[in-house]
Each structure stands twice: as C-alpha cells, then as structure tokens.
C-alpha cells in the first residue's frame, strides 16, 4: 500500500475515543440483555418467576440503552454529526463495495482476496447497518417507552401496533447485530480489540480497511 510510505510501521492511531468506547460498552451491556430477554418474553418458556426476572432484565437493559443514547447525543454532538456524515454520504465506491459485499464472502468462503474500493472510517456495509440502527434504535426506544410508561393510557389499537412494531423492529435489530455485526466484528479481531480495549490500533493493521480515513482524516499529535 502506498499510504504506508508516509507512515512509520509502528505508528498507532486512536481510532475510538473513550466516550465512543463507553457508549459502545453501554450498547453491548444494554442491548444484548434486552434483546435476548425480549425473545424470552415473546416465547414465554419459563414459569411466572422466570418471566418476571426476564422482564426486569429487559427493562434494566433498555434503560441503560436509552440513557446511553441520550447522554451520547447531548455530550458528544461532534461524534453524532460525524456518524451522520459517514452513514448518509454514499459514492460510487460504496456501490462498488456493496456489489462485492466488501470481498467478505470470497475471503471467508473461498479464502480468496479480491480488490475492494477504498473506504473511510466505516465501510458501506457498516453505513447500511448504521442507517438501520439509527432509525430502528429510535423506533424501539420510543415504542418501548410507550409500552413501559403509558400502556394503560393509550388507546388499545395504538397499544397493539406499538407492541407489534417494538417486537418486529427489535427482532430485526437483534438479527442484524447478532447475525452480521458481531460475527464480522470478531472476524476483524484487531478492530474488535481496538473497540473493546483502549481504542488504539496500528496504522498498518487498518490500512486495508480504512485507507481514505488514514489518508484524509487523521493527524499527528503535535
């Protein structure tokens, strides 16, 4: 890669700042328990005590998720705007990236690396996921609040639709996270360690995934 010529082999970049990592931890600790207990509440496999415990975990997880989103929105507006810019800016590179699915099926299934269009901080698949998570997250949080706080007060029809929307959008979100985001996160192990660890990563380790970001969006600490 030509970009590497301008960097030292040992150069390290802070990819995810502390507030971003804390927010991500809150999403993990809030969304996953809420999502899994959501399935339990839907299937009702346990006794009344078990279901009661599942509901408590569901509410606590959802509370953490909601609080984290509100705090991140208030205290990190720069990151929110940066996220919006990334997920809503689509170029020909993104279309080409989507056409080959980022080269992941070829790499995972056939062990073959194919040329992939260069990306910024997040790739086109993550952009698609970002758009879905942004809107679906708002829908799930709002419908959850109605179900928790205002169920006896809203008309029956609205309560029924709220319940169904919460269920379907929540399940889609859980499938997208557990079926796509988490496996691919684990597959890109160094990125995984970066997000769950101290947020740093060697530039040589992300030069393939984020060449445009390295080229245009980072600067040396003075």
């Amino acid at each position: 890669m030509n970009i590497l010529k301008t960097f030292d082999i040992q150069d390290v970049v802070l990819k995810h700042t502390l507030p971003v990592r804390l927010f991500h931890w809150c999403l993990v600790l809030g969304f996953l328990p809420a999502g899994i207990t959501g399935i339990v509440l839907f299937l009702r496999p346990f006794s009344s005590e078990g279901m009661h415990l599942a509901m408590q975990i569901h509410i606590l997880g959802a509370g953490l998720l909601t609080l984290a989103c509100i705090c991140f929105f208030i205290f990190q507006p720069g990151r929110v705007v940066s996220f919006w810019r990334e997920i809503f800016s689509w170029t020909k590179n993104d279309i080409d990236w989507m056409k080959v699915s980022g080269g992941y099926p070829q790499k995972i299934l056939f062990g073959k690396e194919i040329p992939v269009p260069p990306m910024r901080k997040i790739n086109s698949g993550q952009k698609l996921m970002g758009i879905f998570v942004f809107f679906a997250g708002i829908v799930v949080i709002l419908t959850g609040c109605i179900l928790y706080v205002a169920l006896p007060l809203v008309p029956k029809e609205i309560a029924w639709y709220t319940d169904k929307i919460h269920l379907i959008v929540g399940m889609c979100l859980l499938v997208a996270v557990c079926g796509g985001h988490i496996p691919l996160g684990i597959y890109n192990w160094k990125e995984f360690i970066c997000m769950f660890g101290d947020g740093t990563i060697k530039i040589k380790d992300i030069v393939k995934h984020n060449p445009l970001w390295i080229e245009q969006d980072i600067e040396k600490i003075k």
Partner: protein, 101 residues
C-alpha cells in the same frame, strides 16, 4: 498502547447544528408534551374513579362485608367461615412479587 495519531476534530456546520438542535428540541418537546399529557390523563382517570367509588358507596345500604347478609349466608352454607380451608382453596390467589428492587 501509546498512540501518535488522532482523528481530526469534527467541525459542525451551521446546517448540521440546526439539524442536531432540531432533533434534540423535537425529542424534548415531544417528551415533555407526552409527560404533561400523561399526567393530565392519569389525574383525570383517578378523579373519575374516585367520584365513581364515592357514588357507589353512597348508594350502598350495607357498606361492610361482615354486615353483608348474602356474603355471610354464603360463608354459612358453603365455606363454613372466612379463612376456612375451603374458602382459602376457592377464593385465595397466589402472590407473585413484581417489584423491581
């Protein structure tokens, strides 16, 4: 791990600031409106319920269960006395603690 590169600071444009402030204001306004609406609705139902209970109470000739002849007759004929084994079996339900500690 020590790092020597960071992401450039994000400069928020006027358009983005208005967008962000708009979303925050809409969320806060909707939330505040919903809360006042809920409180008003809740108070309305509580007041209606209270008025209904007082009205029912005023209409009743017998206002205590131990003075209720038909209830005492039922206990006499069917369940022996209040808290008898049969009364427990027929009328008492299981308690499940639903408090969030």
């Amino acid at each position: 791990m020590k790092y020597n590169y960071v992401e450039k600071a994000v400069q928020i444009t006027r358009r983005e600031f208005i967008g962000l402030a708009g979303v925050a204001a809409a969320a806060l306004w909707t939330g505040a409106y919903a809360v006042t609406d809920l409180v008003e609705d809740r108070n309305k139902y509580i007041k209606m319920r209270m008025a209904g209970l007082y009205k029912d109470d005023e209409k009743q000739a017998v206002r205590q269960s131990h003075n209720n002849k038909s209830l005492m007759q039922m206990y006499g004929k069917l369940a022996g006395k209040p808290m008898s084994p049969l009364a427990e079996e027929l009328f008492h339900t299981q308690y499940v603690n639903r408090m969030i500690s």
